[in-house]
């Protein structure tokens, strides 16, 4: 049995940022990471575009991870345990297993930073046979970037998530032929820059409102039947056969909450319900990063997780002092808002949220009892982008409503 002030579960960008901020606030902190190195999914994201907001320079995923690993090393209050797996969380006791055996860590506070996992073929009820050659974009990314192996030669990508788009370019450059990217919706889920630099640069067709009807193949994928869909996702027109040996799925992420049966789950984000201190419904258990809700940029993960780490340290060392608790309501054109609850008192409550549909030249505001507590002007807002509004806690005297004006 070990004891510590704060234990951070997960050593990706969220866990590292949380641990650094926890340590800087004076808490003895342990990071538990199942991989051999800290970095999480960043280690296989070898493309660039990370860090522009936080470091003001353009980095690849492994470089972003490297910078944070160096910051972790500088903190004397941090103990890193890699190749270590958490099997149970009970109260504030974490059961771990590694090459030394099974052990328990008793902590003053816990930060959950386990990230998200990809939706699989089963999650989206992909029809047809179940041959080899159907994999997620992240699996394809690991094969190509870490193991140096091509997952296939003729590829169809289902879904226009960013990793799918980035893999379309990556696999093309490595000699595979990406026959098409299919998107069931009217709008792409990936960033516009990735449509341009990953698909258009390589003349890879993007078929909107199109999906896979059925996968065909005995031992290996032999092809897919694809079809156009209407606005209600019903197949329309004739289905068409596309010959391919590999199907890559880029159809979204789900927070990895298997270990967390003790906290309330937000049905909109699939992550835990948290308040403005990033504390879950379980006292002293905090959450951040893609485990809390799926982010657009790692820079946003870092900033959010630093708050979680600081609050966890504060809880472990002094016990968080909170005012009165109120609800956060997602109003007009707001898809969801995190946190679900805010408190009155000192300091600032950060509301992170996503829009339901494109917004152009509109004010977004936080209202409580007919008073506007905070607002910001958005020139061009997309549903994929994470937005933030800060509310001074001393202004909070009732439930708050977040909405797009007009």
């Amino acid at each position: 049995m070990r004891q510590t002030d704060v234990v951070v579960i997960g050593g990706g960008p969220a866990g590292m940022a949380a641990a650094i901020e926890s340590a800087r606030n004076g808490a003895k902190t342990i990071i538990i990471e199942r991989n051999e190195v800290l970095g999480g999914i960043l280690m296989q994201c070898i493309h660039n575009g990370f860090g522009l907001a936080y470091f003001k320079e353009e980095l690849t995923g492994p470089e972003y991870a490297y910078k944070f690993r160096e910051l972790v090393k500088k903190e004397k209050n941090i103990t890193v345990m890699t190749s270590t797996f958490v099997t149970k969380i009970k109260g504030k006791t974490v059961t771990i297993v590694n090459s030394s055996g099974i052990d328990e860590i008793e902590a003053g506070a816990i930060v959950l930073a386990m990230g998200a996992r990809e939706r699989t073929a089963a999650n989206i009820l992909l029809q047809g046979t179940r041959p080899a050659g159907v994999l997620t974009a992240g699996q394809a990314q690991k094969m190509t970037n870490i193991d140096g192996k091509l997952p296939g030669k003729n590829i169809v990508i289902l879904g226009s998530g960013d990793i799918g788009l980035i893999m379309a370019r990556r696999l093309t450059l490595e000699g595979a032929r990406v026959k098409a990217v299919l998107e069931i919706n009217k709008t792409t889920s990936g960033l516009k820059r990735n449509i341009v630099q990953c698909l258009e640069d390589f003349k890879i067709p993007l078929l909107m409102q199109t999906t896979i009807v059925e996968v065909v193949g005995e031992n290996r994928v032999e092809g897919v039947y694809i079809s156009a869909v209407d606005d209600n996702y019903n197949f329309v027109g004739e289905k068409k056969f596309v010959k391919c040996d590999t199907v890559i799925l880029s159809v979204g992420l789900i927070p990895e909450t298997d270990l967390v049966d003790f906290a309330d789950i937000n049905t909109r984000t699939n992550g835990p319900v948290v308040d403005d201190f990033m504390e879950t419904s379980a006292k002293g258990v905090f959450a951040c990063g893609n485990f809390l809700h799926v982010h657009d940029l790692v820079d946003n993960v870092t900033l959010e997780s630093m708050d979680a780490g600081a609050n966890a340290a504060d809880f472990a060392l002094a016990g968080c002092k909170k005012g009165k608790k109120f609800c956060v309501i997602a109003g007009n054109n707001i898809s969801y808002a995190n946190p679900s609850f805010v408190h009155s008192g000192d300091g600032i409550a950060k509301i992170r949220f996503r829009l339901k549909s494109n917004v152009s030249k509109k004010w977004i505001r936080v209202v409580s009892k007919d008073e506007v507590l905070a607002k910001k002007f958005v020139m061009a807002g997309l549903p994929g982008e994470m937005q933030t509004l800060e509310v001074s806690r001393e202004k909070i005297k009732g439930d708050i409503l977040l909405e797009v004006e007009g």
Binding site: L42, E63, G148, Q197
Partner: protein
């Protein structure tokens, strides 16, 4: 000419027009967008990120600066030919690749 800026996740919609011997960029929200707009109509360039072989596996690498867009595949193929001995984060894997005045840098993160 209408372009989507690829310099950051915002993806500004740029309009690039010729004025005399120069180009004027509008629709950008920062200086990187202006630079990109001009570069893209004159001679488009791209950063290259890929992996290089090592004696024990693979390591991620990037170009130290963007290369001409039509040379991206050549750069990836050239990197594919080498095997690095004990590469460290930040090492120069290939100096002045294909005479493009750009180096290939190890980004292993370890």
């Amino acid at each position: 000419m209408k372009l989507t800026c690829i310099m950051c996740p915002v993806g500004c919609q740029l309009e690039v027009t010729k004025q005399g011997n120069d180009y004027v960029v509008s629709g950008n929200s920062c200086v990187r967008g202006e630079r990109y707009g001009k570069q893209e109509v004159v001679s488009p360039t791209r950063m290259v990120t890929t992996v290089a072989k090592t004696q024990t596996g693979f390591v991620s690498v990037k170009t130290s600066a963007p290369v001409p867009k039509q040379r991206v595949q050549d750069v990836v193929d050239e990197i594919g030919k080498i095997t690095l001995a004990n590469p460290k984060h930040g090492d120069v894997a290939i100096k002045n690749i294909l005479g493009l005045n750009v180096d290939v840098i190890v980004t292993s993160g370890k």
